[in-house]
């Protein structure tokens, strides 16, 4: 008699997991860098941060 197991879906290989983790770290670093960039530029521009000349 066969047991009704739920479909496991896509099971990642260890290599796929390793590469996904590397991509996730890269995305996290890029987002962190973007936050720091906006923060530093806000400090640099000071009160004139909304003054953007054409």
């Amino acid at each position: 008699m066969t047991e009704n197991r739920p479909d496991p879906g896509i099971v990642l290989t260890p290599e796929q997991k390793r590469r996904r983790r590397a991509r996730s770290i890269a995305i996290a670093l890029a987002l962190g860098a973007l936050v720091i960039l906006f923060y530093v530029v806000t400090l640099v521009k000071g009160p004139g941060v909304l003054n953007r000349p054409m």
Partner: protein, 314 residues
């Protein structure tokens, strides 16, 4: 009509079920065409530095970063659209999409995301005109050149060269907020540099371009016509290289550099046109291709060095 009709369309999903991605961050970085990006960064940096006025180093860095990422986004969109061509050319077959490391949809999403991010960031943190120019440059390269001109006309890289010529203008505008004659001269130098640079390489890859169905000039007009066109554009380029000096925006050191560099470009282009008895134009083309990179780099480096010397010694 596209000449690429029998090549497999790698932009379409391969099947109903997408395999989990095996792409590494390095593969995504390769989508940005880092070597092209380095030239973009350098010319944009020169445009920004030689522009009059003052810019805070952090804002200047932000501008160059956005220009670099925008150029990379255009490169990723180019690789997404041209994956079918890349797959049949030896020079490009190892790129992430034809090699199967990055799915076409991933590259498309990556390119669009970076394009939007770079333009919005440049607009918010630097100025709107620079952002508009960056958006136009990405559009010009990804849509006008990649999707239209490249597969349609042998003048593809002549008109498409405008995309590669914009970065010094964007750098200039990022600092000044307005357009002037000087960055337009830099634009024209890169614009007229592009045809001899690319065709010198295309001479030795005509068969590959023909197999891929890309109507590069050596494929559609033949080698002799390409050699004539290389010489023609170099004859226009060499005096154009002098214009920053002639119009007074660069000094004597730049002028002498441009004269020496231009004479060498003319000589190498002449050797492509007339390689001499018993010699092929292919070797001369490779020499011209290599030297053309040095020529452009030295011209812009001379501008930069002169500006630096003026700032230091008055």
């Amino acid at each position: 009509m596209s000449l690429v009709s029998e090549v497999q369309d790698l932009r379409a999903p391969a099947g109903s079920h997408a395999e989990p991605s095996l792409a590494t961050p390095g593969d995504y970085f390769a989508l940005l065409k880092p070597r092209v990006m380095s030239l973009v960064v350098f010319t944009a940096f020169v445009g920004l530095v030689v522009a009059p006025g003052h810019i805070h180093p952090v804002i200047g860095f932000t501008a160059i970063l956005c220009i670099a990422i925008g150029a990379g986004a255009a490169g990723a969109l180019n690789m997404w659209y041209d994956a079918d061509i890349d797959a049949v050319m030896a020079r490009t077959v190892k790129r992430p999409i034809p090699a199967g490391r990055v799915q076409p949809g991933e590259a498309l999403a990556f390119g669009i995301l970076l394009a939007v991010l770079s333009v919005v960031t440049l607009g918010l943190l630097v100025n709107h005109l620079a952002a508009a120019l960056l958006a136009f440059t990405i559009f010009f390269y990804a849509v006008i050149y990649t999707m239209w001109l490249k597969r349609w006309t042998s003048q593809n890289i002549v008109i498409g060269g405008a995309a590669g010529a914009f970065p010094p203008i964007i750098g200039w505008v990022a600092k000044t907020g307005s357009l002037d004659l000087e960055p337009i001269l830099l634009f024209l130098i890169i614009f007229f540099w592009t045809p001899p640079h690319f065709w010198a390489l295309a001479l030795s890859r005509a068969q590959e371009y023909a197999r891929a169905g890309v109507p590069m000039l050596p494929v559609t007009a033949g080698e002799a016509a390409t050699r004539r066109q290389i010489l023609f554009y170099t004859v226009l380029l060499a005096p154009l290289g002098l214009t920053p000096w002639l119009f007074g925006s660069a000094g004597l050191a730049y002028g002498l550099t441009a004269i020496a560099g231009g004479v060498m470009m003319l000589w190498l282009a002449f050797r492509v046109w007339y390689p001499g008895a018993g010699k092929t134009s292919l070797a001369a083309g490779k020499r011209l291709f290599g030297y053309s990179i040095v020529y452009l780099f030295v011209l812009f480096a001379a501008l930069l060095a002169e500006h630096g010397a003026r700032a230091m010694f008055g």
